[in-house]
């Protein structure tokens, strides 16, 4: 460590990261990335897999925040600003979730009247005749959803309402 660096490190505001810390943090981040890819292949159940993935992401985020963004060494009001935002994002999502649960009956009611097939599913067969939403079957059967011959066969999709002009996907 040269003199400049030693001097600067005494100073609260001008903390210089040592190469060891920087590379160590990066290696830890890479290892955690490998871990999260490996962990998803282990069947822990949908819930547990999601929690593990989010825990690893949170650990990576903390490493980036505290060391790369040097929040650990920073003024406390900067920490407050950032984690204040984090708290509000968490509140935002949590409170919205309370409302989402209340909407489930409405969603089910909508589903009951809009299911394209009895199972609510589309059969993956390019040859299947286009399935429209309720009330649009006639239009679909008359072949209004037509696929340009030059394009690959497409799977008919209920989100494409037959009475709206279909925008052809860009080729490239």
């Amino acid at each position: 460590m040269n003199n400049d660096e030693a001097h600067a490190e005494e100073h609260h505001d001008h903390h210089i990261m040592s190469p060891k810390v920087l590379i160590g943090t990066w290696l830890a981040l890479m290892a955690l990335t490998g871990l999260t890819v490996a962990a998803i292949k282990v069947d822990l159940g949908a819930q547990a897999n999601l929690i593990v993935a989010m825990a690893i992401a949170a650990a990576k985020a903390m490493l980036v925040c505290l060391i790369f963004m040097h929040l650990w060494f920073d003024q406390k009001y900067n920490v407050m600003v950032f984690f204040g935002s984090v708290i509000f994002v968490v509140l935002f999502i949590s409170i919205t979730f309370i409302d989402t649960k209340r909407n489930v009956p409405f969603r089910d009611a909508w589903d009951a009247t809009n299911k394209p097939t009895p199972e609510g599913r589309v059969v993956v067969e390019p040859t299947v005749s286009p399935v429209g939403t309720a009330g649009s079957d006639a239009a679909a059967e008359s072949g209004e959803i037509d696929v340009p011959a030059a394009q690959k066969p497409r799977v008919p999709w209920p989100s494409q309402l037959p009475n709206t002009p279909r925008v052809a996907p860009t080729a490239h």
């Binding site: 400049d4 998803i40 790369f68 920073d74 799977v155 925008v167």
Partner: protein, 239 residues
């Protein structure tokens, strides 16, 4: 002009250009520390709002995944985990070079600083290149958002392995394209910011006393990395 304003002007005359030895120290700042801390608070406030801004999208994601977990399981089969993982590594490496660029500026190492900035820009382009590969494949196969969703039978068979797809699958791709697209726009913004930084670094503007812009842009770049750290498992790694 009011009397007070004239007084202020006159008072300025004495010392506003007083930082002769420090061309980048604003005359309204007492010293470099004052200027640095002010800028730092500013960038943290900006990052705080960025977090809230992305928070809205993460909220939409959470709600849809809560209501329709099955479309996320099906949707992620259309994405290439390897490309996502490579992109994660590219961004993590660019975060390392961004953090290192701050160190170089603090040590007054001009060439080191420029090298780190160039590496960061290169990684950003690498990230966008891989993203372009992913996007162009999806455009080609008609795997698009909302009403544009019109998957080719090939892509559908490949991802679903002959199983039936949920009729709401297009919602996954609306979320996928908005979240990764907005993140991609931030990467482009980062490239522009780093090009500006490269120009100033080449002119020798930065040193141990004045390196605020290097630090602030690195902080922004780390936030872009942070967002991807969450996007990767949420979109590509679903069980």
């Amino acid at each position: 002009m009011s009397e007070a304003a004239i007084d202020a002007d006159e008072a300025h005359g004495d010392d506003d250009h007083g930082h002769h030895d420090a061309p980048f120290l604003g005359h309204h700042f007492k010293d470099h520390d004052h200027q640095f801390n002010t800028g730092k608070l500013g960038i943290w406030l900006f990052l705080g709002q960025e977090l809230l801004f992305f928070g809205g999208l993460f909220c939409a994601y959470a709600i849809y995944r809560g209501i329709h977990p099955e479309i996320f399981i099906e949707g992620h089969h259309f994405l290439d985990v390897n490309l996502g993982a490579i992109n994660t590594c590219v961004l993590l490496f660019s975060s390392l070079t961004a953090a290192w660029s701050v160190r170089m500026a603090q040590l007054g190492n001009k060439n080191g600083l420029m090298l780190m900035i160039v590496l960061t820009i290169a990684c950003a382009f690498g990230f966008l290149g891989i993203k372009y590969m992913e996007y162009s494949h999806k455009f080609h196969e008609g795997i698009l958002w909302g009403q544009m969703f019109s998957p080719s039978a090939d892509a559908m068979d490949h991802a679903m392995q002959g199983a039936q797809a949920d009729s709401r699958l297009h919602i996954f791709f609306s979320i996928y394209f908005v979240m990764t697209g907005l993140h991609g726009i931030h990467v482009i913004g980062g490239i522009i910011a780093y090009l500006y930084l490269l120009k100033r670094a080449a002119a020798g503007h930065f040193g141990p006393k004045y390196y605020g812009p290097v630090d602030f842009i690195a902080l922004y770049w780390h936030l872009v990395d942070l967002v991807w750290i969450f996007l990767f498992p949420l979109l590509y790694l679903i069980h």
